[in-house]
Subunit: 609 residues, 2 copies
Amino acid sequence: MKLSRTFLPTLREVPADAVIVSHRLMMRSAMLRKLANGLFAYLPLGLRSFRKVENIVREEMDAIGALEIKPSVVVPGEIWKESGRWDTMGDGMLRVKNRLGNDFVISPTAEEAFTTLVRDELASYRQLPLTLYQINTKYRDEIRPRYGVMRGREFTMKDAYSWHTDDASLDMTYEAMGKAYRRVFKRCGLTVIPVRADTGAMGGTGSEEFMVESEIGDNTLILCRSCDYAANVEKAACKPDFAAPADLAAAQVAAARTPAIQKIPTPSVRTIEELCAFLKTDAGSFIKTLVYKAVNVETDLSAAPGCGKLALRSASADAPKTYPAAFFAVAIRGDLDVNETKLAAVLKASEVELASDADVERLTGAPLGFAGPVGLSGLPVVADESVTALSDAVTGGLASDLHFAHVAYGRDFQAWMVADVRVAKAGDACQSCGGELYEKKGNELGHIFKLGYKYTRSMKVSYLDEQGKAQVPTMGCYGIGVDRTLASIIEERHDDDGIVWPMTVAPYHVALVPIKYEGAMKEAADKLHAELEALGIEVLLDDRAERPGVKFKDADLIGIPLRVVIGDKNLPKVEVKARTDKDSRLVDAASAAAELAAIVRAELAVLEA
Amino acid sequence: MKLSRTFLPTLREVPADAVIVSHRLMMRSAMLRKLANGLFAYLPLGLRSFRKVENIVREEMDAIGALEIKPSVVVPGEIWKESGRWDTMGDGMLRVKNRLGNDFVISPTAEEAFTTLVRDELASYRQLPLTLYQINTKYRDEIRPRYGVMRGREFTMKDAYSWHTDDASLDMTYEAMGKAYRRVFKRCGLTVIPVRADTGAMGGTGSEEFMVESEIGDNTLILCRSCDYAANVEKAACKPDFAAPADLAAAQVAAARTPAIQKIPTPSVRTIEELCAFLKTDAGSFIKTLVYKAVNVETDLSAAPGCGKLALRSASADAPKTYPAAFFAVAIRGDLDVNETKLAAVLKASEVELASDADVERLTGAPLGFAGPVGLSGLPVVADESVTALSDAVTGGLASDLHFAHVAYGRDFQAWMVADVRVAKAGDACQSCGGELYEKKGNELGHIFKLGYKYTRSMKVSYLDEQGKAQVPTMGCYGIGVDRTLASIIEERHDDDGIVWPMTVAPYHVALVPIKYEGAMKEAADKLHAELEALGIEVLLDDRAERPGVKFKDADLIGIPLRVVIGDKNLPKVEVKARTDKDSRLVDAASAAAELAAIVRAELAVLEA
């Protein structure tokens, strides 16, 4: 391709709203232009790289037997009402009424559409397992779209969905997806951090996020310096910083050496900090007690304190029965924080939030700041594991200006449930290897997830098993953001001069830069151009009447992996330089095409191995 | 691909709402499923053929130097307000307000988006000509979507836009597009009728529609039996069925032999039919006079009768000045009809419609049914050419129950303008060759159009010419409906058993059908499968445990061009049959792959020649 025949309006200036590197470079290199806040157009150069990422994803999906389909982008609101997400998706989902008054949704994701399609076709267990995917336009109505295509409103997502007769089959597809995702990112030259959350707190539900490190990341990751442990802070585990969580009997043995519980008047003392100062001790000696309201709780509360009058309800005949709302007291060591995601998971609740001040006072019978587990009868107590190791602690006294000292778990109070509900943080020890944990900001590029029966139940999907009996299939879903993956490659691979593309995603493999596009230089450039194209190498020939410096700067900016400078003084040799090299070397023009093709193929082979 | 590994839920029953062949076959062959009225999902088989059409379009666009970009599907309402089409696009354009109250449009077409992008980048004449295109999702809110993807709400369109410094450059791109479109349809195995409208009535603006014959077509075409003349009835011309349109002098000479004009009382006679019966003559001897209201008239009316008080207005500084509304009397021979598209074109009006009864009576001073050109002073008279040849006609008498006989054009009245404004119809003579014209219903698959300055002026696009002076570029636009093209291939190529794909668009080239997928037949089928794939031939191997009859029916239904039956009794030979052949022939299994590959390549070569 000759540069004069494409459309490459590169910029020297950076648009004011482009604050991250990938956005700046995509604008400057004329990959991208803005149509409105969060809405972009890929220009010819950007579209080439975009399609390469898209095709890498497509090839890896096809390789594991996933089948591509193409549903519409605008889908009927009815199917969202059926799944129940019409009400729960919030304002991020763009809804539209058409001229006939029918509700439509500009798809933000497609569990409903795919489930609808499969529901109508699924007859027999012989059709399962089945994995379908699309690579298609999605829309989320971000309030503050920013960072270019990293957080835009319209974007392209590969989303796959699978259906299975049993968990073993779902596991196999889930694992195959995990491997395919690793290959996708490797082929894109990206370093991703796979973050699993399929053990422990999540109760067996599988989920793995593929993250890239990013200073503007939406997620906080907890990573281990010594092993490959990585988790989203929302779900991260850590090794207890005490011997081990104690069972009730062991706790009672330890409590035997503790002095009897003692009331301590604590006028005007409410926070942990004030209490530490007042008692001249540290937060690790306190038991902090927080009251949470949980919504749609699946856990059996029939024997839980204060829950006797709660009624179970069900949204539909197929949906599991849940308690619409229930309150819990969470006791945790004073220097730790409660992780709400973990708490919701152990309670099997769809959501948890701190109870209102009025609810706290009503349920504990004490003013704010004096809640504690000792003598608390109106609420189930969830004790974080850290609490079970405390045999001589301070707690709130359930009355104004009162605390208890010498409180021992197992002797002075028991918990309705013991669980790991603490936030893991930098400096904690890795649960797997004991190494030091640290934090990073990350952006999610992909996510694979075992959905289970959520959609197949609410949308009434069934098939006939070998015995001819109707069964509900289990389901998985698997997404990759194409635009975000493309932008992340630039975030990871750039220097002060511009983008440093991996060979697999580069818009062109080779940039040909004649010092002047005339005479012998034009002849040599045209010849090399033709030879390289005949070898299947993608070439951009800079045939503009610009100064060499301008051409070099643009070649570096747009990040073509190999550059060939064709100048009068070196002919019949040409200068070859990799984008990452400092210096160029002279190569015979006659053999340059073969040599360049060999380099391109070798680099592709390494990335695609 | 093994059939058991894809997703091919073919149907024996036809869905009730599928009334045309392509819709029925796309549903039955599991190419397509409905998500809602006018919204569809392509299943794996359908998507393969869809992508092939898409790629044929892409290759032909790239071949003429058009550059692919990818703007968003959801675009800001502001750019539609800027062009003025926010108000004129009607309810077919799906508008949506997001959570912040901003207006967006789900693109029905993209003149605005492309013009916005180019406006911001266009600096110099050196960047022109420039042709950009996308192949992307579009949405039109059809009130009654039907005929499957032939008239759906969401669809995929290739739309290209070009910008030029002058008409000669626009002409070149327009011609190249016309050739590219012919190649696209030829490669798809489609018979299209190119319908030009770039001469005569349209005043030099170029436009060509690519139609396919269809009994459910939106358009009526006028075609010549003797030459390749083809036109949309809205714009079709025909040879006058009289000697030649007379000029005023010739008409006056002819009128010399006509008796003097005569008043005829015609009580209770209003329609042409009643008048014919009353006067015992035929409609061809009458001059019919209709009053039209025209909107946004560009033609100079300063000297037109009754228009003295009309004021010119302009929507913006750059827009041409027009008369917001004006009335005209159109005189035409009684057996002919007025073509409103032609009338609007000769008046340079954006629209014309019949005036209301009240306006007719006010402007002619006569009751309905008695309008006529003789003595009509308050309105400009537009005479169809047919009227100029009438030297002894009957007309309305501009008073109740009165007609005139012996009316001669040129003697008894003159016209403000003479033009061809008649509807051409089957049986008329071709303007080009005199052959007989006939009618067909057609569907539009593609359209190329010289837009001129409409968008570049209203959206203020400019570039600097060689003298450094700001100039407005002229523009063209070029669309192809991908879904409609795909469906039209099926409409043209099918039989009672199913689809008959051309090799270029077939989802697979070869269907392998072992009588039973076991033993020697399985071995031979697997071997042939592997050999064909190694040769780059796309194969579908029916490995299901179904009766041979079911497999044959499905292979015919989905329309694979070549079928190979592998049966015990014929091995080591296999039966090869083209979809269009009646009988199969035996071929050595050992050489079958090479032979099949040769047939596939030969058929591709013919279509792509």
